[in-house]
Symmetry: C2
Subunit: 206 residues, 2 copies
């Protein structure tokens, strides 16, 4: 187990390993090698071994990795073995799509509150959660000890929502709005903007 800083690239791959390992576990496969992982995930086996070796010696020479054990370890590394409350701000189609996430994945990150500014939406149910007015955002985030916010509001509102989340003491934000939001360095922001993904795809057309 090393203590130096783990690179962002490594951290982004861990959930990909985890997802595939869960598939293997579901199929009752006990063991997997870095080569098999690499083949399935389009990654170099040495890279996978090095990624994992940052956190401990999880494998067995000549055998590979025990699927169940590795799942347990990665879940722990990613802090997915303790409950994390998540807020969703913006109950549009994208918000609805993300809220379904709760139903499919029994892992520890759970959307526990949904907010929207539009009065007509407030009070409606979305996956067993009542949509709350954004005015209650700060209060509820504190009350429910919400640590992560998912922003799915229009770009024009995104920075304002982010400011409120920060004020409420949020630790991390996943932003889907097509704008770079500014937050204090202590708050971690990931941008998930599909329009930029789509536009960069166009570059590779003949």
């Amino acid at each position: 187990m090393k203590t130096y800083k783990i690179s962002e690239a490594v951290v982004k791959r861990l959930p990909i390993y985890l997802r595939f390992l869960n598939e293997l576990a579901f199929a009752d496969i006990q063991t997997v090698s870095s080569k098999e992982l690499g083949d399935k995930l389009d990654l170099n086996p040495a890279q996978i071994r090095k990624d994992l070796a940052h956190f401990g010696d999880f494998g067995k020479k000549g055998i590979g990795y025990d699927v169940g054990y590795l799942i347990e370890q990665i879940r722990h590394i990613l802090k997915l073995d303790t409950p994390i409350n998540v807020a969703l701000i913006g109950a549009g189609n994208l918000g609805h799509a993300l809220s379904n996430y709760n139903m499919y994945h029994r892992d520890s990150m759970r959307i526990v509150a949904v907010f929207d500014q539009v009065p007509e939406k407030v009070g409606q149910m979305i996956n067993n959660l009542e949509i709350l007015p954004t005015a209650q955002l700060i209060q509820k985030v504190r009350e429910l000890k919400i640590r992560v916010g998912i922003i799915t509001v229009p770009a024009i509102e995104a920075q304002n929502v982010a400011n409120q989340l920060v004020e409420a003491g949020i630790e991390a934000i996943l932003n889907f709005a097509p704008i770079i939001i500014k937050v204090p360095v202590k708050v971690r922001v990931h941008h998930a903007d599909f329009t930029t993904e789509l536009h960069s795809l166009a570059y590779y057309l003949d």
Copy 2:
């Protein structure tokens, strides 16, 4: 103008520049420097200059970049100055969210066909497009000269859909399903999976 291979990292930033430049143009701002861009987009100014310099000398010393001209150039680099037909496969909440994209952005990538496997959904309208049965996928992709596919079906169906897209002669795929899909090397695939984004965020919580 250089002719060597442009790195993926550069291509991923171009749409981010473009988006912000469009904001500037909308606000009638004529000129922008790499420093201003860097401040707004959280990037190093030298990196922005180098990114752009790969494609030509777009700036003026002492002045910066002409916003309108730079928009034009980046749109051309990304091939966003010619129409590109896009298919959306999967008319769930996420599919609906992405289809709205057509309404907001008057750029050249347009969703021209939506497919779903579920019989109840077929025939319904989604943003002025009739949902077609997935059985018609290959035929319609060819007929409408669709070059890009967006996959928003469940993971279990994603590879099958990808295979059909490839068979129909698609050039690029944006995959939202939580699985790594396999396609021939000539087909470009970008994975846009929000669950892995969310899980990697958890790592950075205290």
